[in-house]
Subunit: 110 residues, 2 copies
């Protein structure tokens, strides 16, 4: 399943290193190869990135995952979205931490 989290992370990693392999990507994302493959295909299917074969300096067949213009746009949007989400998480965490702290302090009076 392709969540916003992976949408963002994959677009980011691919933009940073277009010649990344699916196995590297999987490791960087902390997910399986199969899922990585699935996500990449999904992103390609909706036109956010393109898979292009090319010959590198040694005439070796290589793969590149390039963000399409739509992909770049989408990445900006999804990044902002992700930031908002993270900020919300952050605030919630701050609250939870405070709660945990007082809980631990309360324990002193048991």
């Amino acid at each position: 399943m392709l969540t916003d989290e992976y949408r963002y992370k994959i677009l980011k990693l691919v933009q940073e290193k277009p010649d990344i392999s699916q196995r590297e990507l999987a490791k960087a994302l902390g997910i399986s190869l199969g899922k990585t493959n699935f996500c990449l295909k999904a992103l390609a299917q909706v036109g956010l990135l393109k898979v292009s074969n090319f010959r590198n300096s040694k005439n070796k067949l290589a793969y590149m995952y390039v963000l399409t213009p739509t992909g770049i746009e989408h990445k900006a949007a999804v990044t902002l979205n992700f930031l908002k989400l993270k900020l919300k998480e952050y605030e919630q965490l701050a609250g939870e931490i405070e709660e945990l702290r007082s809980e631990i302090n309360a324990k002193v009076n048991d």
Copy 2:
């Protein structure tokens, strides 16, 4: 699967309200009844809580989930652990947010 998160949350909710039902618990935890049942059993199996039937004021059979002494101890430990974990998450989030921010700012220069 019984993660530390649910271990903590269940012990907390049960301690606060021992006569809570599995359905209430499920709703509070945001998980299904089946999973809740599974987690409770797992906690009982390792001796952190006990399920006790009793007759309430109206002679109605009722259930209570009571933390064992071990459970209370464990809860303190797991709470602390959870706090540490949350703090780590918090810091990581702060980092990610910063990263996202500069990424968005960098976009201005595209």
